[in-house]
């Protein structure tokens, strides 16, 4: 019971702090806009072609936006060494992890919600398959990026070149999830294949790594 109280309190604290220093949010919202525009300049396909590659484009764009968000996940806890205050308390490690992961999930989802309509407009996208299936794909895919991203962002706190270590550690491990997200989205957009296998893969990925993160986060937090 106390576990979830701490998770909730930490998430509330983070939301409050994020709200009070609005410049970080605004900069990131603008960044995600820029990413969509740049991609649109770089890849200018016909409507037919775009259905095939949009899945990949959209998720790579989301990945870039997510990395920027993930990199500053723990930045606030480093100022004034306030993370020490959490570590010195009897609070367990996992509520902190979950609060950060949920916070990142919400934030990245907001960025995705902003970028998606722009992609639809620029690429004249229309789903030929069952469009409602895109929602679970978005949720599962975002969680896949965010759960490991939060974990490895914490790990890179203990390294040099912190900002480059996060993608370096995250990208190789995210390959199956990325395949899942991209192919599932493409399947829905083109309507040519079933996304079922890929959704199952994403579920498996999410379950395996959420459990792994929860089991091993304390090790990472305690490593000074």
């Amino acid at each position: 019971m106390r576990f979830f109280a701490i998770t909730r309190a930490t998430l509330a604290k983070d939301v409050r702090l994020e709200w009070r220093s609005k410049d970080a949010i605004n900069a990131m919202l603008f960044f995600s806009l820029l990413v969509v525009v740049i991609f649109s300049f770089a890849f200018d396909p016909t409507a037919e072609e775009s259905r095939r590659i949009a899945g990949g484009l959209v998720w790579v764009a989301f990945l870039f936006a997510a990395i920027v968000a993930l990199n500053q996940t723990w930045a606030r806890e480093l100022r004034n060494q306030v993370l020490d205050a959490y570590r010195v308390s009897p609070a367990p490690a996992n509520p902190l992890f979950l609060a950060k992961a949920f916070g990142n999930f919400i934030f990245v989802s907001v960025l995705e919600a902003l970028m998606t309509p722009l992609f639809i407009v620029f690429y004249k996208l229309r789903a030929l398959g069952s469009a409602w299936e895109l929602l679970p794909i978005a949720v599962l895919g975002t969680w896949a990026l965010v759960v490991n991203g939060t974990f490895f962002a914490a790990m890179s706190l203990r390294t040099r070149s912190r900002e480059i270590m996060l993608p370096l550690l995250l990208f190789p491990l995210s390959i199956p999830a990325l395949l899942g997200m991209v192919n599932a989205t493409t399947a829905i957009l083109t309507g040519e294949e079933s996304a079922r296998f890929w959704i199952a893969l994403l579920v498996a990925y999410d379950v395996v790594f959420t459990v792994a993160c929860l089991l091993l986060f304390e090790v990472v937090l305690e490593a000074e």
Binding site: R2, A9, K13, N80, P90
Partner: protein
Amino acid sequence: MNDIPHAVVADSLIKQFGRFAALRGVSGEFSTRKLYVIVGENGAGKTTLLRIMAGLSHPTRGMVSVLGNRNVKEVRAHIGYMAHPSLLYDEMTGMENLGYFAGLYGIQQASNSAATCREVIASVNLDPDLDRRVGQYSQGMRQRMSLARALLNDPKLLLLDEPFSNVDSRSAKEMAGLLGQLRNGGKTIFVVTHQPALLAEVADEFVWMEAGKIVKRNSSLEASPQ
């Protein structure tokens, strides 16, 4: 918990950071209900020792037992830690900060929590209703709020790292007095400081460290090793 003979026991503590050994064999027994002042040059290992006692760092070799427990994690509820960085969120007020940390210590119900926070903030001579964010405090106020956070859970063991740095002499004297009172109330206190004279009147023992070892312990500051 009340009748443990020693607050901290260290046995041949070694802490290595790659090729650098911050602690090269620290041993000693430290009784409860005393105020210890740890003194030494930069790099002597004072902060490292304090962090190990707080459970924030783990020895490379050797053993440390805090409040009767070799696994410091189990007694975290009874430890208060303060360092030179404030360990506070700049964008929140004092009450908001303490309210959050109170939750971490399980000071659960809302009314109870607020009252406790107000009490603690008042005890370090700050105004609990101050609506300013901690980031806008003066250095002295920030140090006192940081001490309030360390006192929030009414810890049996208080670990303070440079609590007087950049604090004006009047506030420093007040804090020193407060520490004496806390010790009289039954707490065990370790203070790492470059200004040991401030605590000359309230300290029970001075501990000199040099090059990762304890070189001398004495109840009087005059007995400094040279």
